[in-house]
């Protein structure tokens, strides 16, 4: 079985929003300088789930692919250290500022270049933009089914049973292979890479593929091909006001408070 996991590098979400700046001209988020990027938390769980499937199904191979500017090989190395077998980086100036459709096209082309695959795992959304479309559009582009928001996958021959997270529990659906599954945080804590996993990952070569290498269609990628446009981008401000309720007795104060809460539609 061959599992391909799509992993994205994002600014560390643990950093408080106030530290980020927004460039009003380009409408881009500018993370604080010197902040090391991390693997998107949902994608890390996708790697974890792939590793669990590999443990239960010996002979499974995991390939981690990532895309982005800068030293994105770090996230692939992290996935390799966790237990992925191979890694690929997709890097080209032409890829930058693609929207979900553009990204799905690039990933689909890279996956077609890889050739054979049984299962493609993505995070249910990237933990930076939280859009959550790429996995589904990737499946559509490849012409295969997609199951979203998974917390567990059980392989049964040429099918999989996927536990999907619902508001009040989970449902189990069956899907034929190959297919795309987007993975949710309910998978649980991803494993720490072992020391030996790190040693092996550090020595693995991670090839970088360009738009030409994968045969990406220039008309489908980059900002010109985007189906969506960011018209405004801002950090929300939260205003807090404090009003002290005064009254002669506690009972009176309680009544005043209750009325106030109803008036402001808190209750």
């Amino acid at each position: 079985m061959h599992i391909i996991v799509c992993v994205k590098q994002i600014p560390d979400p643990e950093v408080p929003p106030a530290k980020f700046k927004i460039d009003p001209d380009t409408k881009k988020v500018m993370p604080p300088p010197g902040l090391p990027p991390v693997i998107s938390v949902f994608d890390e769980r996708a790697v974890e789930l792939a590793c669990r499937i590999k443990e239960k199904n010996p002979g499974t191979k995991i390939t981690a692919i990532t895309m982005g500017p800068g030293k994105v090989s770090d996230v692939v190395k992290h996935a390799l250290a966790m237990g992925a077998d191979e890694g690929i980086v997709l890097q080209d100036k032409a890829f930058e500022d693609s929207d979900s459709f553009g990204n799905a096209h690039i990933l689909a082309k890279a996956i077609q270049k890889i050739g054979s695959y049984d299962l493609i795992l993505c995070g249910r959304q990237a933990a930076d933009w939280d859009i959550g479309q790429t996995g589904s559009i990737l499946a559509e582009t490849l012409g295969i089914p997609v199951v979203t928001v998974a917390k567990d996958i059980e392989v049964a021959g040429d099918k999989i049973k996927v536990s999907r997270v619902m508001e009040d529990g989970y449902e189990v659906v069956e899907a034929p292979l190959p297919c795309v599954v987007t993975v949710s945080n309910e998978v649980g804590l991803p494993r720490l890479p072992s020391g030996m996993g790190i040693i092996q990952a550090a020595r693995k070569q991670v090839p970088a593929w360009t738009a030409a290498d994968i045969g990406a269609d220039p008309a489908k990628i980059g900002p010109a091909a985007a189906h969506s446009e960011i018209t405004s981008l801002f950090i929300p401000t939260r205003d807090t006001t404090c009003e002290v309720i005064t009254a002669d007795t506690l009972a009176e104060a309680a009544v005043k408070l209750a009325l106030k809460l109803r008036e402001t539609k808190v209750v």
């Binding site: 250290a81 720490l192 020391g195 790190i198 040693i199 550090a202």
Partner: protein, 385 residues
């Protein structure tokens, strides 16, 4: 010249940081208050390969470079200097590293893989009630008797002394030969004649074990000697070169922990209507620590880099240890000042960092001893006596 970390170094640092957040930090305050040593943390570190990361793979380790090991030391000590002391500086640097360099293959084969897997915990035993900085004057004796050596004497302030399965013990075989008569032995805890007594009421490092040891006609098989008679002092000095490097890295971790806490608190604490971070004198306290800690980190990495190149690193390890320990103590002090009364209480981590830094000022040689070694190595005239 290259300031970039390798992929391996970055991955080890990240893994150690995540491990500390998941497995150490949830218990660190409670264990410090209860002076509780938590062995399961040590076993989990072994499972990840952290108990012997720089030991070559043929002896059960991972064969990482010393820079990667120092980054692990920094991250673990940032969370808990007690865990660092138990698992890293004592077990790896002071115990495994000299065995790796000085022991014969048979001893290494018998013991090292078990120590990297966490099956056996080590200790390094040099200091005695009357012998601290003047380590050539060891009074514990070793007398040959047939195929055994018989050890008599006592050891003091031995980290892991009460919990280690295996102890690397320095003893004098011939007092007239001074440091050239010292030999090193691997003593199993179960060997008759060995006893330990835990030391309580320490200022810091409360979740690590410290003990005094006694050897009364303790018979050790001759094959358990590490190196030859007369090598013991060199075994000890080599252990300390390694221990100083890892301890310096840990001091950087403590200093960084103090900085992180001070930065966070100064951004949250409001006085005169503003976060206290907006006051210049508060920024000064933090900035001084940031600069000094970065300088200390470079000293650590340079000592580690020289070791990896196979070059002498005694002077660089002493420089790193001397400076980093001072920086750890200063940064923790300044972090307490930033926190005010809250920093003086146990509610925030900075008072523990301060108490632990006091321990790291002392072990593997005080700053004063480091200065004497740096002086001897630089000037050529020893000023020890």
């Amino acid at each position: 010249m290259n300031f970039d970390y390798t992929d391996e170094q970055v991955l080890f640092r990240n893994m150690a940081r995540e491990f500390a957040e998941r497995e150490i930090l949830p218990f660190v305050t409670e264990d410090d208050r209860n002076t509780y040593y938590r062995p399961e943390i040590i076993q989990k570190m072994a499972d990840l390969g952290l108990l012997g990361a720089p030991i070559p793979q043929e002896w059960g380790g991972l064969g990482t470079d010393t820079v990667a090991y120092c980054l692990v030391c920094e991250e673990i000590a940032k969370a808990s200097a007690s865990v660092f002391t138990t698992a890293l500086t004592v077990h790896v640097s002071l115990f495994q590293m000299p065995i790796l360099k000085w022991a014969g293959d048979a001893l290494k084969k018998r013991y090292l893989p078990k120590t990297t897997k966490g099956k056996l915990l080590g200790a390094f035993c040099m200091t005695e009630p009357n012998v601290g900085s003047d380590s050539a004057s060891i009074e514990t004796t070793a007398t040959q008797s047939g195929s055994n050596w018989v050890l008599n004497g006592s050891k003091m302030w031995i980290s892991n002394g009460g919990i280690a399965d295996l102890l690397l013990v320095l003893a004098q075989t011939d007092k007239t030969k001074k440091h050239k008569g010292i030999a090193a032995f691997l003593v199993e805890r179960t060997m008759p004649g060995f006893a330990s007594k835990d030391i309580h009421n320490k200022l810091g490092l409360k979740s690590s074990n410290t003990a005094e040891l006694s050897f009364q006609d303790c018979k050790v098989p001759a094959e358990n000697m590490v190196g030859q008679v007369g090598d013991g002092f060199k075994v000890g000095m080599y252990a300390l070169d390694n221990g100083r490097t890892s301890t310096a890295a840990a001091c950087v971790g403590i200093a960084q922990g103090a900085i992180d806490a001070a930065v966070k608190y100064s951004q949250e604490r409001i006085q005169f209507g503003k976060p206290i971070a907006s006051f210049q004198l508060v920024q000064e306290l933090i900035v001084e620590s940031i600069v000094e800690t970065e300088a200390a980190r470079f000293l650590v990495h340079r000592a580690a880099y020289l070791k990896d190149k196979g070059e002498p690193f005694t002077k660089e390890a002493c420089m790193a240890k001397y400076y980093a320990a001072e920086v750890a103590a200063r940064s923790a002090t300044k972090a307490i000042k930033v926190h005010g009364g809250y920093g003086y209480s146990g509610e925030y981590p900075v008072e523990r960092l301060y108490r632990d830094a006091m321990g790291l000022l002392l072990y593997e040689g005080t700053g004063e001893i480091q200065k004497l070694i740096i002086g001897r190595e630089s000037i050529g005239i020893p000023a020890f006596a």
